[in-house]
Amino acid sequence: MITTPPAELSLTACNLRRRLVTTSAEAKIPHLGSCLSCVELLVQLYWRELRIDPEAPDDPDRDRFLLSKGHGAPILFQVLGERGFFPLSELANFGKAGSVFHEHPPKPGYIPGVEAATGSLGHGLPMALGMALAARIQQRPSRCYALMSDGECNEGSIWESAMLAATQKVHTLTAIVDFNKWQATGRSQDVMALDPLAQKWEAFGWHAQEIDGHDFGAIERALTAARRETERPSVIVAHTVKGKGVSFMEDDNNWHYRTPNPEELAAALSELELV
């Protein structure tokens, strides 16, 4: 874990957003809105929370982070590159034929720092649960984290996993929901009755917290509280804005699939310079 003041975290987040929208425009990579909504969550995790070492990405005692919302891979790759798991120059291949950097994370072994292939929703949380149980059996200090989307909470496997994690008292497991209120084709609450989401998790036996998912201080406090749990698994329902950081993308679900044209890229970058 490295200690970085919040102002620097904000700068890091801004830089990541700049590279993300640039890559999306250049390589025509979608899911931009979904990536922009979880930038602060990933920055707090990768710069402040996770016990990981880019020089030893296979350390068996490391914490595990699984991007259960695998379509957020474009921002995860930027984070891993920025954090030093591989040279940032490798991201020049993003989206090119034959590259390992495409729309979803591949299985481990291709991109350092990637713990699991995701993209089909509802897999990451149960895999993280398996890793947390493994750490308990192996008496390793690893904590396990899974970042989900709100749409992903449609999947039955998420709730199967929620029940078993509570039964097994896996307090080393922290789930985070990037609750940006949209899924592919509509408002998440209109597609499936998610609300009240935090209370649902609580009813499933989890320690549930609701926070502003763009507030570094709030994220840090919630992760700290999760770490202090000694019985229950924790979920952080992070209220976020899809497309956060670029005014004309914010809360506009067209940016689930659209990629910026040159004018839109220029406009986005000029906004991201203001931060």
Binding site: M127, I137, L164
Partner: protein, 310 residues
Amino acid sequence: MRDAFAKEITALASERADVTLLSGDIGNRMFDRFKLAAPERFFNCGIAEANMMSLAAGMALSGLRPVIYTITPFTTTRCLEQIRVGVAYHQAPVVIVGTGSGLSYAELGPTHHSLEDMAILRTLPGLNVVAPADSRELVAQLREALDAPHPTYMRIGKKGEPVLHADNAGLGIGKANLLRDGSDLLLLGVGPILGEALQAAEAVSASGLSVAVVSLGGVKPLDGAFLAEMVQRFPRWLSLEEHGITGGLGSALLEWLADHHPGRVTLRRLGVPDIFLHELGNQTYTRRQLGLDAEGLSHSISSFHGDRQR
């Protein structure tokens, strides 16, 4: 077979610290000894197979050797995507055991029949698909699967099946074994239904027909060296499986023959026709109805041999 599995997995849990057992809320009392031997490594994952499968993949990626045990349709087609993505794509060395496979639970109806599992799962890259004929083959394959760097699906019967292999020599994954030698026809099968085949071979021998019976041990990988030898010895083969006729052992053998020895062998597939079964009875009744008991197989063997002579 399930008692042999319970006994062996308990022994394995004592031998190695990395074996975990995940049950889908079945096996009442079956795993009491395992729970005594390794309580922290037994998990009743409830009636929630999708989570169980992905969880096992996560455990395997962290260095454990999880073994999943539940009734075959629920540990295969119920959670196929979790097998495909979590287990097979990741090459997570999970051992997936389907109990009561084929028509073991015939009287429970189509929800509990498993007549598609081998066909579906053998399409997944890197996943071995085995079907031991008896408890000896089961034990050998289970031990080998737990040492393999890749995942394995094992379909087993229920209990009380006869032991068919004379000893443990030569048993394993992708290893064919001759249960009875013969000279006129070759019958290649998987699973406990080979007990019916051996009785049928004995029955037809009375009329002078000599049938060799082989346990192939599974459908993936196939024992290519053994099959190549059989191509030289027998121009006419029968395949036998307690599984649908589409996509399973018979299909795998036809593919192998087409790829390696086109036009050399005439093969007839014996198995369950391409239907759901509604008029139910126990496994013995259902095998008889489908012509898959010893008597029915005797007729099929004789008829196949007769076709050659016409």
